[in-house]
């Protein structure tokens, strides 16, 4: 790699890369993010490579192992270009047919296509699959077209042109103004305007300033930053370099948790490549601007995602938050002005510089511009990463993109914002997704976790779950957070166990208020949200647990019982054989009965009872009917009677 010394040389390099690429040459792209690795994409990749070689096509077909395509529910995904034929859930055994049929013969293999569950239509092109059709993939879209280990792939798509534009045709102030004008807000949690943060740092006294990428993603179920870092590391790096130029920083850090080995690997390779081309280092693109980046691997504490804790950890100390009455943008890492933005925020920057703030502002609402990547998980048909314009409704995300709730179940709530966020009920499904809209509804945007819950989910237990998470993940430094969470968790656990008392909710509200207002950092101040939002929208469930010792979702183990309806039991022996605690008595032609004192409430009987009988019932808040006398348990079959 030769060093690139000017924007003109960069354009020449890009032309050279493109001239060697034939857009008509078949190219198989295979999703190789962490999620698809888990579903076997490495094996698929190996068999594609072997099969292409075996069929003598090595010179005629390109293979590109890309980052996450987003549709993780159906991974591993391959897309064959230039036709954009999309095959889902590929296994190594499918590969020979794909190569001989689709690559050689240009024939579609119908069984590997996406079938629209509503119309039963087979869909050939990736972009026409409903999951993708309703998205706006500005930031995440290139993931599927880039080998993250190849800087040339990024350059071929126009990579580093925003950096060249900023360095050669804009002053740092102009870059800053453009970002301010775009009203880009932080994608990591609080949604603080990035431009204002940058401006504060730029004008803060001091020669040494830092820019930092927060890749300490830790919300349960969220993996969008991971996938972006794994799939398109250069976009984040380019944004960071532009930000450093605007702020006047010469040193950047990428704080990434070490549980993300592929992200660490890909960003490290990206930095080396950028250094080789001279996008990092001294006199970048001949503009007289110097900047270097280091990767710091975090030990995976959730609280280290909080800005001051992250900076403390970067300094080599225990990642605990410190007071931020003076912003970290003024007094951050080693007490120097430091701009910390989340992965996705940085990745938006090259787009804003390239296409302009006016273009960016076309997406979204008045106060929330652009798009947001969500990690759509839980009780949803199309699990995966989705990028949607701000202002889209929750209903559109869940039903149009996500394909609704599986198993014919009813939607109950959607949790956004991770442990700092809240649960929103069905009546808020038409809420427009934006920073302020979500906060006003008692949740938050957070970094983009979105967990869909169906009717089987107990909202009290959800609140308990998140507080249990926080009891582990709080740093434990300040009293309102550490002790408040401890006591809230105790009270919520008691309520789910049927030990809730009159006055518990008021006590919980007091604790929530204290933690919410007096905690040192945002983790503590938002820790009550899972409780407060579920109380706000599902108070009846709390009251049922406390007053009636009943779990309306039939989920809390201590409040439910399993019982076999003697009128429906056909004595088929299935549950009796499968019960792991031998709690079911009965026999052939003898109605089965669950011995309550032996039952561990594992639910096996409920799951295995054939739906046509539906004899096993789950009940809560009512006594279990006494078993019928033994002599009445004999079933006399009609066939035998005749």
């Amino acid at each position: 790699m030769a060093r690139i010394n000017s924007p003109a040389e960069l354009e020449a390099l890009r032309k050279n890369i493109l001239s060697k690429r034939d857009p008509h040459k078949p190219c198989i792209t295979l999703c190789s993010g962490s999620a698809c690795h888990a579903s076997g994409s490495k094996e698929v990749a190996a068999s594609i490579e072997a099969e292409i070689k075996k069929q003598g096509l090595s010179a005629e077909v390109d293979i590109r192992k890309t980052g996450c395509h987003g549709f993780c529910e159906r991974g591993p995904i391959i897309v064959i270009h230039p036709e954009e034929i999309c095959y889902l859930q590929i296994e190594p055994k499918d590969v020979p047919e794909i190569v001989s049929q689709t690559i050689k013969e240009k024939k579609i293999i119908e069984r590997l296509l996406y079938i629209d569950p509503n119309t039963d239509q087979k869909i050939i092109h990736e972009s026409e699959i409903p999951f993708y059709k309703h998205q706006e993939r500005l930031v995440f879209g290139s993931n599927g077209n880039i080998d993250p280990k190849s800087i040339d792939d990024y350059l071929a798509l126009g990579g580093y042109s925003a950096l060249a534009k900023a360095l050669s045709r804009m002053t740092p102030d102009q870059v800053l103004e453009e970002v301010k004008k775009s009203n880009l807000r932080g994608r990591g949690g609080g949604g603080f305007p990035a431009g204002r943060k940058w401006e504060e740092s730029r004008h803060a006294p001091g020669q040494i300033k830092y820019v930092i990428v927060n890749a300490d993603e830790g919300d349960p179920g969220a993996y969008m930053d991971r996938s972006l870092l794994e799939g398109n590391p250069h976009s984040i790096l380019e944004g960071l370099i532009i930000g450093a130029y605007a702020i006047g920083s010469r040193q950047g850090f990428i704080y990434v948790r070490q549980e993300y080995p592929l992200a660490v690997e890909n960003i490290t390779i990206a930095i080396k490549q950028a250094e080789a081309y001279g996008f990092l280092g001294k006199n970048i693109l001949g503009a007289g601007f110097d900047f270097t980046v280091k990767v710091h691997q975090g030990a995976g504490a959730f609280v280290s995602g909080e800005s001051s804790a992250l900076m403390t950890a970067l300094e080599g100390r225990v990642g605990e938050p410190r007071p931020k009455y003076i912003h970290t943008a003024v007094k951050g890492l080693w007490d120097r002005p430091s701009v910390l933005n989340n992965v996705e925020t940085w990745a938006n920057v090259p787009l804003i510089i390239n296409k302009g703030a006016d273009w960016f502002s076309r997406f979204g609402t008045e106060w929330s511009k652009g798009t947001k990547i969500f990690s759509l998980v839980g009780k949803i048909n199309n699990t995966g990463l989705v990028e949607v314009p701000m202002g889209i409704t929750l209903r559109e995300i869940i039903y149009k993109v996500g394909g609704g709730i599986p198993g014919g179940k009813k939607f109950k709530a959607v949790q956004t914002g991770g442990p700092s966020g809240g649960c929103l009920p069905e009546e808020l499904l038409d809420l427009e997704v934006g920073f302020d809209e979500l906060s006003q509804a008692g949740s938050m945007m957070g970094s983009g976790g979105m967990i869909v819950m169906d009717e089987d989910t107990c909202m009290v237990d959800v609140a308990r779950y998140f507080l249990d998470f926080l009891a582990d993940e709080s740093c434990g430094k300040c009293t309102p957070c550490r002790e408040g969470i401890r006591q809230m968790l105790k009270l919520l656990t008691n309520i789910t166990k049927g030990k809730g008392k009159e006055g518990d909710l008021e006590l919980l509200e007091d604790l929530a208020e204290t933690a919410g207002q007096a905690s040192l950092c945002a983790l503590g101040r938002t820790a009550p949200n899972p409780f407060l939002s579920t109380l706000r929208y599902f108070r009846d469930e709390y009251e049922a647990h406390i007053k009636e010792k009943r779990c309306p979702a039939l989920s809390c183990k201590d409040l439910i019982s399993y019982y076999i309806d003697p009128d429906q039991c056909q004595a088929c022996m299935i549950c009796l054989r499968q019960c792991p605690s031998d709690a079911i008595v009965g026999g052939k032609n003898q109605i089965h009965v669950i011995q309550q004192e032996k039952c561990t409430k594992c639910g096996t009987c409920f799951e295995v009872c054939p739906p046509r009988f539906g004899a096993v019932k789950k009940i809560s808040g009512e006594p279990v009917p006494s078993p019928i006398p033994e002599e009445a348990r004999i079933i006399v079959r009609k066939s035998k009677q005749q």
Partner: protein
Amino acid sequence: MSEVLIQIDGREVEAREGMTILEAAQKVGIAIPALCHHEQLEPYGACRICTVEVETRGRTNLVAACCYPVEPNLVVRTRSEKVDKTRKIILELLLAHAPDAPVLQDLAKEYGADKNRFEKEASFCIHCGLCVRYCAEVKKKNAVGFVDRGTRREISFIPEIASKECWNCKECFPLCPTSALQAAFVLTEALISPPLAPPSEA
């Protein structure tokens, strides 16, 4: 350092730039309770008992007086319904761990805190961190530290360091507002084998 004029509980107070609210208040004899604050140590902001209400740019917030730097025209209320309620709950939370600590009992009287409001979980330590920070910042020995995090966080002597450094120091003992530190030290002594003893002259 220039002077900053602020208002505390309706009184005009002159403070030096860079001072915290707590320091400015102490200078004029306005008492704000504090458990994790110590003049020789860096501001820490952990116990939150020094929570006060401030008004800046038209907004009211609860902040920790031991960390919040004074700024021109800052309005501070050291007692208000909200402040008192917050302190009361913080005390009740701490009393669940150290119901007998005299300093907590005195404050409990002042704020009407009920030491039985929360189920007792007597670990005695209230996590003020005075011992840990004194050893690190003043003695520069780090013989005692916090281990684990969240609700499992606790103080612990590091036996290898403690066995060399603590026998003739123990300056942290009087700092502890409860009996937790001494207990932790005794535990460390018991764990070290052979028992902690002054090193011999040889």
